[in-house]
């Protein structure tokens, strides 16, 4: 009986404690005026656009902050039946690769284009991890306009990373592979027969065409697993830093075998040096079959296959790269706003190491190298390059630890750094200057991956909002069966103490998210496409041009849509005909798209914006009379926007 009483007391005690601390609501971390801080009055606008990768959805989502509202899903690497992306003839070629048409990829790290170290709001780049690709999204239309495949790479996780003026977009390979590809024993990985590549892509901002990206060169590096990277700024402008894990070169049971080394490496690449070597003819033509796809608005996307790239080997370009030892299996490396410090996130490390760029330069000058080099790349001495080590694990009393599993660090405009701690479910705020000092530990629910501060990877962070992008959701929201939306929490970091202000579900799996002040984008956002600039070969720019063109067994239907009817009114084709509908939206008013769907055909919806032409193809298989209709409620007479196609 006594035991029972004790147990009962314990249970009550536990319940009370739980309710007193507010359970997982965040307790005192929650701002008392949180509701006010995130409330955006109906009809008013958010202050920030936050671009979130969709992970395995292959998409990108745009949220408004501070409200957390979902503003748009932008299809990038995945077909999107909602609006026809990747199905319609205009954008289908964007998903072409050297392996053929690939309707999906795993999108990870959205990165805004930069001018002078800050996000300029022109474009957004995002990587396809599975079959290496980088896409460019135009931020005046919020549409994917260009995708370039990256050859000699596998697992394009370490990408895209930009130099301060978008001179280059960099990508590094996560899964080293035989380069060039060939069938050799997998165990050869451990014999150093696999390679990694660092890819430099130029972006031509001057041309009006959407064909802007080009692989300038690749650097062939030892076969480690390269991971999240960042380029320098200010004094370190000429350099980019790529983290790596599995320097053990294990090819099975990596979770154990790739965790043995006490230190892995940050690869520091002097891209100016590489550029000079390439200009001096040191890079050799190399096999590198890859697709380059782009879509000029008002036309049909183009896909070109290129067969070679320029490959630079470190031995042909001395001083191009150095390895900085860093503990332990880092998930990434970040550069602080001053460009002076390089912070790594060793997910198995007990410290957060801060490497000094200035010390790195001195160490290079004085040749402070370890005995062993890798693939002609010298390894710098750890102690010569380290600026400070922030101890985050308290081995005597682990409950007093600040951070288990540091992954990723972003920065504010007051010299503070914010590191995500995957295992200990928190973000650690610490100050980075002459020394590094811990400041505050705030919870994130649960298993935070990336942390994102507005402009937090830039020269001038905006310094007001921070987001945690979490991997496990569990009880944060109403249950929705076994699959839960990934959770994101928003924090106000403008004060001395971080305050949590919002918790909201996201789409797919946002790995990283990159944010920008709304004012840099909102004014130049397009409202319509000008019909007068539509140069689509099958556009019908007025109802007079609408009609049916037959070429043998192929029937082109130039269909116009305007409130509230299609032209031509009726369409007749023969059984077995290949039918291509080219739907032109004649509207020139903001937010009046028309939709298009045909009964019993394996085609998606087409959502045609004002002034646009979109085409979809199917074979008329069955005889009969079948309806087609507008799928986007466009006017009071939307229901009447319907016609028939007769197959005879």
């Amino acid at each position: 009986m006594k035991t029972f009483k004790i147990i009962l007391l314990l249970i009550i005690g536990a319940l009370l404690t739980n309710s007193c601390t507010g359970g997982s609501s965040g307790g005192d971390i929650l701002a008392s005026d949180a509701a006010q801080k995130v409330y955006v009055k109906p009809g008013e606008w958010d202050k920030v656009y936050w671009f979130m990768s969709g992970g395995y959805s292959g998409n990108l989502t745009v949220h408004g902050i501070p409200s957390g509202r979902l503003l748009k899903t932008i299809p990038v690497f995945s077909v999107f039946p909602e609006n026809g992306y990747g199905f319609e003839l205009e954008t289908k070629q964007l998903l072409n690769t050297s392996h053929g048409f690939l309707p999906w990829d795993d999108s990870h790290h959205p990165t805004l284009s930069q001018t002078d170290g800050d996000s300029d709001g022109r474009w957004l780049f995002i990587n396809g991890n599975n079959t290496p690709r980088i896409a460019r999204i135009d931020l005046s239309s919020f549409e994917t306009k260009e995708i370039i495949e990256i050859p000699n790479s596998a697992g394009n996780h370490a990408s895209p990373y930009l130099t301060e003026n978008t001179e280059y977009v960099f990508a590094a390979t996560r899964f080293s592979v035989p380069v060039p590809q060939k069938s050799i024993p997998i165990s050869d990985f451990s014999k150093g027969k696999f390679y990694g590549t660092i890819t430099a892509i130029t972006v031509d901002g001057k041309t009006k065409s959407e064909s802007k990206m080009k692989i300038a060169w690749q650097l062939l590096v030892p076969g480690f697993n390269y991971d999240i990277s960042h380029c320098g700024k200010g004094p370190s402008h000429d350099w980019c830093f790529f983290s790596s894990y599995n320097t053990e070169q294990a090819y099975k049971m990596l979770e154990k075998n790739a965790s043995k080394n006490d230190k892995d490496f940050i690869l520091a690449v002097n891209w100016k040096k590489a550029e000079a070597c390439v200009a001096a003819g040191k890079a050799k033509p190399f096999i590198g079959k890859h697709a380059h796809n782009y879509h000029n608005e008002g036309t049909i996307a183009v896909s070109k296959i290129k067969n070679t790239i320029k490959m630079l080997r470190p031995k042909d370009c001395p001083e191009v790269a150095y390895y900085i030892p860093t503990p332990k299996s880092p998930h990434g490396v970040d550069v602080d706003p001053t460009g002076k410090y390089i912070v790594a996130g060793g997910k198995l490390a007990a410290i957060i190491p801060v490497h000094s760029f200035a010390k790195m330069k001195v160490a290079i000058k004085n040749k402070k190298f370890e005995k062993k080099s890798y693939g002609s790349i010298p390894v710098l001495k750890y102690n010569e390059v380290i600026h400070c080590e922030l101890a985050v694990v308290n081995t005597k009393d682990t409950s007093k630890s600040l951070c288990f599993g540091p992954l990723h660090t972003e920065f504010d405009n007051k010299g503070n750094a914010y590191t995500s701690c995957f295992l200990s479910n928190n973000i650690l705020k610490w100050h980075l200057g002459e020394t590094c000092e811990a400041r505050q530990k705030v919870p994130a629910y649960y298993n935070i991956g990336h942390v994102s501060v507005v402009g937090g990877a830039n020269k001038n962070p905006y310094g007001k909002y921070m987001l945690s992008l979490n991997k496990v959701t569990q009880d944060r929201y109403l249950p929705t069966g076994p699959e839960m939306a990934h959770a994101a929490q928003l924090y106000d970091i403008s004060g001395d103490k971080i305050k949590m202000i919002l918790d909201f579900p996201t789409m797919g799996e946002p790995h990283y998210a990159n944010a920008i002040a709304a004012e840099k984008i909102q004014k130049k956002s397009k409202r319509i496409y000008k019909l007068s600039k539509n140069s689509h070969p099958y556009a019908a720019k007025s109802e007079k041009e609408a009609g049916v063109i037959r070429k043998g067994k192929t029937v082109h239907v130039k269909l116009t849509a305007i409130r509230t009817h299609f032209k031509p009114d009726t369409v007749t084709v023969n059984q077995g005909d290949r039918v291509i509908f080219h739907v032109t939206n004649l509207e020139q008013d903001f937010d009046y798209p028309h939709g298009f769907a045909v009964f019993g055909t394996p085609i998606p919806n087409l959502l045609v914006m004002p002034g646009q032409t979109k085409s979809i193809e199917f074979t008329a298989k069955k005889k009969g009379v079948f309806p087609f209709y507008c799928t986007d409620f466009c006017s009071a007479l939307h229901q009447e926007m319907q016609n028939y196609i007769r197959v005879r």
């Binding site: 000008k530 305007i562 509207e587 020139q588 008013d589 006017s635 009071a636 007479l637 009447e640």
Partner: protein, 196 residues
């Protein structure tokens, strides 16, 4: 009647003629349609010899909305006025210049009278067109209800279905008002005040 007008008035009339010349380059009148989803409004500018939209697409969008109620599309080519209005203004400018050289009171009076006749005719014409477009509706249109008409006001604002429609003088119309008013003052001073 045939007494010379003062030098000041003579110069002023030449200046007013010059001001009238500006009207060739600015809109006379505008009609704006506002609704919750058109916060900035859809607008239509009436010039001496053309009709334009507030932006490249406003006129197209106004016509598109109007088609639901069976209103005829507004096209500049349908207004014969645009072919002779520039000449009427030219005639008035010429009158001003002639007055400068033949500066008699009768000329001022003639100018004032013709000015007000033209202004009245212009306003009546606007009213007539508005009635024509607003009442002469295609009965086979989707939204056709007995008793519904869509004539905008000549001056001021009026609610119309989901829109509020306003009609006001634009820069050109305002300039005309100023010129007419100045001419009235000059006439008053010439006929009723002893001038130096």
């Amino acid at each position: 009647m045939f007494k010379n007008i003062s030098k000041l008035h003579k110069n002023l009339i030449l200046l007013l003629s010059g001001l009238l010349g500006i009207i060739y380059f600015i809109p006379l009148w505008f009609i704006i349609l506002k609704s919750p989803q058109y916060r900035d409004g859809l607008s239509m500018f009436v010039w001496l010899s053309k009709i334009t939209g507030g932006n490249e697409f406003d006129l197209k969008n106004i016509n598109l909305l109007n088609h639901y109620v069976g209103m005829k599309e507004v096209h500049a080519a349908d207004f014969i006025e645009f072919t002779y209005m520039p000449y009427i203004l030219g005639f008035m400018i010429l009158g001003g210049i002639v007055t400068y050289f033949y500066s008699k009171r009768i000329m001022v009076l003639a100018g004032l009278v013709s000015f007000f006749l033209v202004a009245l005719a212009g306003l009546y014409d606007l009213y007539r067109w508005e009635q024509e477009y607003g009442h002469n509706l295609d009965t086979s249109a989707a939204l056709s209800m007995k008793g519904l008409s869509f004539s905008p006001p000549v001056l001021g604002c009026k609610p119309m279905m989901n829109f509020i429609v306003c009609s006001w003088p634009h820069a050109g119309g305002s300039l005309l008002l100023i010129v007419g008013f100045s001419l009235a003052i000059i006439s008053y001073r010439e006929f009723f005040k002893k001038c130096a």
